[in-house]
Subunit: 343 residues, 4 copies
């Protein structure tokens, strides 16, 4: 048995499957149980079919929390909190929640799991709220500028997501006949991930002490107090994996492109999965990896930051495993040195 014993809740969904695909090759972690009510007793490889030949694991109806070191919540949004009302997780067992239930600071002890901003807190936390996919990609584009106090005007963000972001349940906008070769927007200016983005940007404001944000409205308020609004247009792309994002930041005055680049390089000097690219990036550079790539161009007072991640990996379970590695003192890259699909 390896060092870290893992339990997975909601193991039959998209993120559950991706987590299993990562952990069966993780050098330091073993899956003790993969819980799914609807699939209890079925082989994991009968649901996550690509796993045929790689694991004999079955979905369990049991949740033996006393046999594990950490539990991943791969529930839909809103179900984590409900689950914890009905069940008790032993104190010594760490929790990594992939839903949005605990991402906003409040009367709980969950640490926001973005290693690029909270690495130390993550290392010592017991409970972790894993960031949203859009939130990860957008924050990684803005963090160095926020820290430098350069977010002083409205920020214009356009981000395109793959269909896996919409989950496993079939519906009109994930129907192949509709989505193939199509393009559309949704949740214009109101996407729920704005909340956690505002929270982080507010924390990084160099001019002021961070303040508590406990609702989306409060988040917006504090941003607006600082003169910042993040105008976020999410798009449905006709690919399955990945998020590609452009963020336009208006500076008070022009800045050398090389200086902007150095802000990014410095900020991500210690980041093991986030890299600044000297040249324009494309989505497939990161698909099927835990990497994030960022690149910036400068036009007068405007900085255009391009960022890209795989929504299921750096945007979900890849980052969750990265966080697990930090929480257990493992190599941050363990189990995450993935071959890009590239094509």
């Amino acid at each position: 048995m390896k060092n870290v014993k893992v339990g997975i809740l909601g193991a039959a969904g998209y993120t559950g499957g991706e987590l299993i695909r990562l952990l069966i090759n993780h050098p330091e972690a073993d899956i003790v149980f993969a819980h799914s009510e609807s699939n209890a007793g079925n082989k994991v490889c009968d649901v996550h079919e690509g796993l045929l030949g790689e694991t004999e694991l079955e979905f369990s109806s049991e949740m033996p929390f006393d046999q594990v070191d950490v539990v991943f919540f791969c529930f839909g949004h809103g179900k984590s909190e409900a689950f914890l009302k009905d069940h008790t997780i032993p104190e010594g067992v760490k929790i990594i929640d992939l839903a949005q239930d605990f991402r906003i600071a409040g009367s709980h002890d969950y640490v926001y799991g973005l290693p690029e901003t909270h690495r130390d807190a993550i290392k010592h936390c017991q409970h972790l709220a894993n960031p949203g996919c859009f939130a990860t990609c957008i924050q990684l584009a803005l963090l160095p500028l926020a820290k430098a106090g350069l977010l002083t005007h409205d920020v214009s963000v356009n981000a395109i997501t793959g269909s896996t972001g919409a989950g496993q349940k079939p519906g009109a906008t994930t129907h192949f006949s509709w989505r193939n070769n199509n393009f559309s927007t949704y949740k214009l200016f109101t996407h729920q991930h704005l909340h956690e983005i505002c929270q982080t940007l507010n924390e990084l404001r160099p001019d002021t002490a961070p303040r508590a944000i406990d609702t989306l409205e409060t988040g917006f308020d504090y941003m607006q107090e600082a003169g910042i609004t993040v105008d976020f247009i999410p798009y449905r792309g006709d690919f399955a994996r990945g998020i590609f994002c452009t963020s336009v930041v208006t500076l008070d005055k022009g800045m050398e492109a090389s200086h902007v680049a150095s802000l990014f390089r410095d900020y991500y000097a210690e980041a093991v999965f986030t890299h600044y690219s000297n040249k324009a990036i494309d989505l497939k550079q990161v698909v099927n990896t835990n990497k994030a790539l960022v690149h910036a161009d400068v036009f007068g007072r405007k900085v255009v930051v391009t960022s890209a991640i795989d929504n299921l990996l750096k945007g979900a379970v890849g980052q969750a495993v990265q966080n697990m590695n930090l929480m257990f003192g493992l190599d941050e890259r363990a189990g995450l040195q993935l071959k890009a699909s590239a094509f």
Copy 2:
């Protein structure tokens, strides 16, 4: 009001929508009603959204059969027969049924609506059973060889269909996240369209009088009596429109490629939408048109016929409108001179 007054049943589905898209530009036909129970009262362009700006038509809850010349049944399979048990269509009103309920000859007067084989019967029929999409593409590949008495060994057919063939209802195999960049088979050797294919091929056997076929089993029997089996492997392709098919026919002895080509040219000399190509074909040559293209290569005793159609047009409502044109003495091409999407 134009010459032909049309009623549509099942107007909110994929074929219903495509039929409306065709008929609003048809020079000789008008839509009198487009019936949909679930969408009664809604604008057609709120369901078939591409029609915005092209029609103010609304879905009706009424079916005023006495005001129309022809009714199209755009139901799912098996519902046409059920509908006719519960409703009476006036004698003078023609019926074009897109489902498979009346494709096999039996105790009914529906003519099988493949213009390439039944043009005269279609012109004079009152009730028409429109062929299946795979059945159309496969028959167009085999008809000239069947008529020439060359189908004397098992025929190997592989055909790939777009996702629209699976209809509007979302499901696991039409989920974008699954289907995109994926490939799979289904209904190996048992696809229901084999029945109508066998019926036609049996009719064309030059060595014998056609005999009645009223079940899939009978159809297979007669074919096997003649030493013929059609081994049909259907595939799910990762595109939305079109069927691409290869059929391998084994001859008793080799034949000049030019002779095979002339069999096809002669057979389709009068066909307005089916053309023999001198060179290899590709699917997008026919997508969004009512055309069928066929091409043949010869290797020793084996003839490989490639055929392609748009499954919603020549494979469904395009052919239905072609049949309507024939049934009403209109130009066979009326309303069907469609610009290929090409890309």
Copy 3:
């Protein structure tokens, strides 16, 4: 012979092919010659393969200008002007140039062919410069707001184009292995279509008489004088046809959504192909049609306009044929009532 006799230069490229696909079904126009140096003598359907069975036309090496009423220039950018230096088109022959050579007003008599702004001038012009694809989609999103004097702050435009926008010549960014499921940006903030966009917006400024713009720099200057910059981020999408665009306009103060909608409805009341949609739009509503759809949402002081066209039709040859119809007094819709591919 029909009323309008047409010559096509550059007939073997993407736009040349699409123009032929349109004109062979046009009720009032005939193609007299389709010129291509490299393909002279070849059948048109051997190059634009989808046309098999629809036309026996051959590419010509001759350009008999005295036999035509209008010539379409389907050259690459910069070649139209060069061609006219070496060749003489008779005075009575109209020219429709699809390249960008004459889009900016200057010492020539070409009318900018956007029917939504220049319909009357188009009707009476002899020479026409057909707008760019991005330029069409972006202008249709902004015209009603520009005319109402509401463009008083920087405009943020994000637009995604299909691969056919990059033309027929294969290259790294149109290689299927790279582009499939990929996403990327190009020509950030510097796309050449900004020039014609600025020219039109400047014309529409209600506060001032239009002034001459003859370089991209001048265009920017005039816009900046008015406090307006169009920040345009073009993206390469992984589909073949279409442009999908979002434009964020910041108003001086908030405005009712219904009022914004009425600005669009009023502006496009007479437009036969441009329609305002009450609800969110998606790209495939317009693919393979000459339509443009626009929709607006309002968030505080920000108006988000979504617009979509088919880049080869309303963004190129569809609009060119619409312009031809206007120039020859035909029904503006003639030959352009195209069935959407829809899927």
Copy 4:
């Protein structure tokens, strides 16, 4: 330095890039040089862009063969033999050739590198010819039946390949605008991989001693002598990675499906990457892995075998690394436990 020191020739192409992506995470191998004439001096991650942040390797103009244990030839077909005429590889250095130059037995000592048939010979060989992508997928479908002496009639094979099979150079059939949502055939019945397939099947014929095959014609002759022809139709699919194949084998008499399944299970009992699936398979189960999946259905005397691989991995460099592992006594799975992209 790890155990196995690797040199790569042709490192800037598709297979070269994929090999580098595999080897930088291989636990037992190090890349000593990655040779590319045209890219010498450039960073590897400037060409294989997904590698940004993962390697600082540069393409070399040198080929220091004395510093390596093994050289991979990632040339185009026909260039390996030419290279060896001009260059000398030291005797102690192993060669793994990805081209087809040495796949057919002849006056050379290259072992055909299909671990499922030649594992022992591979372990002890100095020079290895890595199988073709189609050839791998088709052979894995047929080997168990061939060994059981069941290939006694013509075999009908249909296989669809992703665009990466066509390599890096852009061309008409890999242009996104053409290939997207398209489908077509090529090299009907004459694909060059038939040669190596016939060679292996001939070796496995239980009724006769294997005989030398040194030309495609000889291969066909021997097969025909045994009454076997492999009718192979290759298709171009509109995805980037993967091969999906159906093979129809006609038996002398019917056989229980369970018996056929047990033939496959037994044959692949020791195979670490090839697995028999109890149920129908789909392509994405294997994309971005080194796995092959096979499944068989039985209809009377016909067995339909479905098989799927990733053309760049099990069909090329994944299998090459698997062979390297065998040749150096490493764990056969080393560096190849890849997370499927799954979506």
